[in-house]
Structure formats: C-alpha cells, structure tokens
Amino acid sequence: MNTTPELPVPISYIAGNYFVFSVDAATFLRREHNICGVLTGTLPQVPQQNVFTGLPLELMPEEARLLVEKGVACIVDEVNFQKQGMRSLVEEDRKKYLQELESQGLETMQLQMRRKERQRDASLKKIEEKKAAAKAKKAEAKEDTTADAPTVAEDSVVSLFADSGEPSSHISSRRPSTLGSIEPMGITPPVSHPPLPQQPPAKHLLPLPEVQSSYPLFAHLHSKGYFLCPGLRFGCQYLAYPGDPLRFHSHFLVVSTEWDEQLDLMTVISGGRLGTGVKKGFLIGGANKNVEESDGAGSNVRTFSIEWAGM
C-alpha cells in the first residue's frame, strides 16, 4: 500500500474541477502530503449508502495548486487528453490493451470461482461439524442445528473479507457453472493508463489552478501540519484537523478574510459561538498584504483563535 506513484501525480482538470483517479496517488497524497480531498464517487461494493464513498477524489483548487507548487503534481486537461489520446490509438495498441484486459478478466474469474468453492466447502464442513456435535447431544434439543446453520454461513463470509484486500466480488450470487470454458470477467478500469500514457504530453498540461483569496491562509495552515477539508457543512470555509481526519476530530472552523476587508465583529462572535458549540475553535485569518511572503507557505499570514469565554 505504501507505494509512491510516479511523480508528478497527474491531476485531472474536468469542467472546472480537479480530480485524482488513481488509488495509489490518492493514498499517497493523503499519507505524504496531508491532502485529503473529498471522495465523491460510489463504491461498487456498497453502492447504496453515502457513509463511505469512493474514487474519484475531488480536490479543492487550493489543494491542487499547493501540490503543483510543491512539484508533486501537474494539472492535466483531461477532456482533451482523453479525446485525442483515444483517437490516436492504432490497431496494435487496441489489440494489446484488449488482450491485457482479457487475461486480467480470466484471472479474476478463476480467482472468484476458486474462492467461492473454498467458501462453500468451508461452510459445508462447518455445518457438518456442527451437525455432528449436535447429534452427539441431541438429547437436549434438536432445533439447535437448524438455528445454527445461518450463523455459520455468515461467519465464513466475515473471515473471507477479513483476509482479503483483493477483489472478492459478490456480483453473481449464483454458483459458478461446472468448470469448462471460462469466460473472462469484464472490467471497468479506474484510470485510462493503459492504454493512454501515464504522463500526458506537455500540450495537455495546464497552468497553476486559480484560487480564492483564502489561499495564503490555506497554505499557511497546511504548512503547519493541518489537514484541511471543505467546511460549508459546519458553517465555515475550511475544517482544520490536527491529523488525518480518518482518526482525528477537527480543531478549527476556519474563515479567511482579507487584511483590510471590513469585518463585522458579529461574524467573529457568531463564529466563536458556533465553534464552541461543537468543541472546536473558530479561526480567522488572512495574509498581510504589506508584508512580502517569503516561503510559499503563507509566512505573512496572521491567525486568531476565538472561543467562548464562558462568562
């Protein structure tokens, strides 16, 4: 899992949004660069819920820009890259790619069939064992055997999931037809490489993403080790987490303001109140225009933390 993808990581620019499609890139950015983004896609294994979401990873323009400035990522005009890249495939590329997919599909199919068989054998075996055990003391109660059976089956499913980080699909609940001609499994790949190249040609690269005036504050907090997420749900611009949001509660509701922007003190008060109500601080900040920014990490940014005083 701790793989480092080829750098720079391509960030797809599509209709005004920034996306990462590769799982390795997404986890790498999170692990090494404290960039979380928002997972906006549907997880194919559990498609009917919103608690856990999957790829793509949507990045804020601030996140995309920060990564480009750090030299970790580049912005790709994905729409044209796809269109032109696919159109310029030649017969040989197509054939090679389709063969690759077919062999992967066959492998997956075989893997799944084997797993299903193992699973079935295991649960049958367990049921047999239980039955035998129950028979031994059938003097006590006969109904137990039937009541136990489903639990056993479920247990085996759990253990199957526990040991696998690999594909373990339950797309088809039917038993695999007896071994014979195996058809390959169809695959929708997450990314377009292959058949397209990993790094797009220079003509499809885009300049630095445009960002709001809150960017210096964003970069400043990020440089201090905070993980930042979009904050509208909590009534602010960003949520600042002291560590990976997977594990930690956020510390601050962040609102950016410009140095000499007219600021209604009521914003400060209501922000402080809002934050205190959810055990978070309200953080207001922005860049001092009169001071030259020196390190690219918002060194000219001033921040203030506000909390209810309790009096």
Binding site: E154, P189, H249
Partner: protein, 443 residues
C-alpha cells in the same frame, strides 16, 4: 409531515429514527467498512457505528498503528474493482454526438425501411438529444428509473445516469469505434474497449449542463435509493447548445401554480370575508371596533388584524433564475413511478455551487424559486407548528462545497394565515414553541 420528509432526505432507510448523527458529515473510519460490505451481501444494510476518533495526534505507536490500519482499509476499499460477470453484464456504448439510430438494419425490429446510410446524429429517434450512451441489452431493476427507450428497444442514458451506473459497477461502457481511431467519427459501434472511470468523468461531466455539483447531488441521492430526474430548470443558460427540449419552456409547475391560483373556492371565500368585514371598517379614523353586534372574540380579533401579510396562495408565479431554479425532481424509494409518465415529484431541488455563489440567495431569488414550485398547502388538520414548517410551497437547496453537499429546505410559511384566535381548543404551549433549543453549556 414536514418533519418526516426532512428526516427522509437525511436518511431514507425505514428506521430513520435510529440514527441521530449523519455519518456522512465527517470522514469515517474505513475499517468500519468491513462490517458494512459483508452485510450488503445479505441485503441487510445497516450503518456501522461511528468510528471513535482522537482529539489530537500523540506520539504513541498505538495511535500510529490504528491510523495505518484505517488507511490500509481505505486503500483496499478504494481498490475494489468494477467487474462485470459475463452472465449478467450490461454493456453501454458512448455516443459522443448524441442519440442516433442503430447502424445495422438487422437491429431494426420495427421498420423494414431503416436507412442504410447513417443519418446526421441529430435525427430525432424519440429520446432526449442530451443522452449520450446507449444500452442495447438493458437488464436489471435500475433501468426502471433510469434511461429512455428508443424504438429499437435500446435505452439511452443521460450523462449523469451513465456515469452513475458505471461508477457503481452496474454498466460496462465502451468507447465507440469512432472515438478510438477505428472508423469514421460518427461510428458509434462498440469498439470493445471499456471506458475507464477517469475517461467517463472526462466525457460526461460538462456534457449537456451536467456540472460536478449537480452530479454530486444526483449520485448522492441515487445512492440513498431516491429516483432522480432532471427538472425543467436543469439548465436555462442560452449557451446550452445541446438544446434540452424542456429547458426553454416556461416551468410547467409555474403554469400549474398560475392555474391553481386562489381558485374559485378562494374567490368565494374572499367574497364572504369581505361581506363580513366591510360594514364595520368604514371609519378610517373611528374606533377599530365600533358599536355593533359582536358575536364573540374572534369577530373582534379579526377586526384588529390591521397589518397586511403575505399570502403565498395569491402570489404570482415568476421566472426563477439560475442557479436558483429547480434542477432535479426527486422521488422517494416508495413512490411508484413510470418513466414515461412521471408523477409530481416528492421533492424539488435547486443545486447551488458554494464556491461561486457565496452569499445567501436574496429574498427575491428565493421568492422566484418558490413561486416556480406548485402550491402545496399544509393539511388543515395538522398542528399549527407542522403547518407553518410545511409552508405553502417548498423547495430544497442543495449547496455543494467541493463535493460536500448540504441540504436546506426552504418553505413559504404563512404566519398571517394562521389565525391563532380561530383555534378551537386552547392551544397547548408546546405546540407553539419551536424545536427544543440547544442549551449553551456553561463550562
């Protein structure tokens, strides 16, 4: 009912009351997904418990191990492949230039005189011109609420529908031969090359007014089991070159509201009201309640009601403007729908991009938005507070901040129409009060 409806949009599962916290509010520990995925197998999907989080990082190995396990779980959850078993796979083909009849006359089951030469892709074949993927072998329950059939029994999908189906692993979308350098530009036969998730986003987001914000709302609600359709206000911009047929018509709902208006019954009621009130309100300077025959307090109170109030029933419909237009129609999972004749939606949603529209909508924007929705007065037998909350018209704002969606329900409450003095029984105090206030805890 308003309370129930709102609960439903947060959590449409039958046991809505059980979960008080919206788990999707914050990043969840992916280790919890393990329990989730095996439950999904038995169609008994219940949400996992909220993962325990810490206040701040500490240098313990224990914490580092948990974090690493969480990330590992996330990585493997995100690596889960989208597989299509050959026995039941559904294949779609991308048609970048919009719907077109099948190229092969053999496919044409209805008319023998199918054109041998491929006509221009704009030819109407009975489906929306904004569709861009066709499915020749539609199988599965999802197509009950997704797609439009042409006369060759193919289902045509709008970009959001195609992308959603691909994303959930239910559809294998292929590049057309024309797009992979294998035939003419308008060749939309299956090239056999599957479209990746990445390619699908690049092809579908931005197609026919589908913004990422709209897609986030669409897919989020679909995942929860709602049926979601484009509403007439999906895109109103003039540069909508795809020319959604319905987008240029005035909102049908607006027309409906106009027709409904106060209605005959309303006019009659007003006439009665006028008869009752007018004789005593003649004196502009005189006492509000002059001498006369007073049959009860209600009569007196009515005369004291001097301040004019806004009546949503008589409001005139006006044209809402983007982004404050109803872009999506939502049906609860329990609502029976036929794609060909959609009933009135259960909810109407306007989609707002929080990054570009940073201010609260103005009163006039909200007003026009509400007036574009049909009149849905609250049931008169409901308690006062429920009626006020339900309002006479309502709409849901989906505010999207970089993929994170917040839903706000806005209703046109008519305080002036609720005559407190007309209440039959003495009001119980708690009916009038709002929801319990959160006490600000003293530290």
């Amino acid at each position: 009912m308003a309370d129930l409806d709102e609960a439903a949009i947060n959590n449409p599962s039958s046991d809505a009351g059980q979960i008080e916290v919206d788990l999707s509010d914050e990043t969840q520990d992916f280790r919890m997904l393990n329990s989730l995925s095996f439950l999904a197998d038995t169609n008994d999907l219940s949400l996992p418990k909220r993962g325990e989080k810490d206040f701040e990082p500490n240098p313990t190995l224990f914490q580092a191990d948990i974090l690493s396990a969480s990330r590992q779980a996330m990585h493997s959850a995100l690596s889960y492949p989208r597989l299509h078993n050959p026995k039941n796979k559904v294949i779609g083909v991308y048609a970048p230039n919009g719907p077109a009849p099948p190229p092969d006359p053999k496919l044409d089951l209805i008319s023998e005189d199918a054109p041998t030469e491929r006509p221009a892709p704009t030819t109407s074949i009975g489906v929306s011109l904004t569709t861009c993927v066709y499915v020749a072998n539609p199988k599965g329950g999802l197509f009950k609420t997704i797609g439009q059939a042409d006369r060759w029994n193919r289902i045509w999908l709008l970009p959001e529908e195609a992308l959603y189906l691909l994303e959930r692993g239910s559809l294998d979308i292929r590049w057309p031969r024309g797009a992979v350098g294998d035939g003419g530009e308008h060749n939309i036969e299956d090239s056999g090359i599957p479209m990746s998730l990445q390619a699908a986003y690049a092809s579908f987001i931005g197609h026919s007014g589908l913004t990422m914000e709209k897609f986030s709302v669409y897919t989020g609600l679909r995942r929860l089991g709602y049926a979601v359709f484009r509403a007439p206000g999906w895109s109103q911009s003039d540069n909508d070159t795809d020319g959604t047929a319905c987008s240029t018509e005035p909102s049908e709902e607006g027309q409906l509201a106009m027709r409904q208006g106060p209605g005959l019954a309303g006019i009659f009621k007003r006439f009665l009201q006028w008869l009752q009130d007018s004789p005593s309100t003649t004196a502009a300077m005189g006492p509000l309640i002059g001498f006369g025959f007073h049959r009860g307090y209600n009569h007196l109170f009515r005369k004291l009601a001097l301040i004019p109030y806004y009546d949503p029933v008589t409001a005139s419909p006006s044209r809402a403007e983007l982004p404050y237009t109803v872009a999506l129609h939502i049906y609860k999972p329990s609502t029976h729908i036929r794609k060909s004749a959609l009933p009135d939606p259960d909810f109407r949603i306007a989609v707002v991009n929080a990054r570009t529209d940073t201010d609260m909508p103005t009163l006039s924007q909200i007003g026009s938005l509400l007036e574009s929705t049909p009149l849905e007065p609250p049931a008169s037998n409901k308690p006062l507070y429920v009626r006020l909350k339900n309002g006479y018209r309502n709409v849901i704002l989906a505010v999207v901040d970089q993929g994170v969606v917040s839903y706000l329900r806005i209703a046109d409450a008519a305080f002036g129409k609720e005559k407190i003095f007309d209440a039959q029984a003495p009001l119980r105090g708690n009916k009038l009060r709002g929801p319990p206030r959160n006490k600000f805890k003293k530290r």
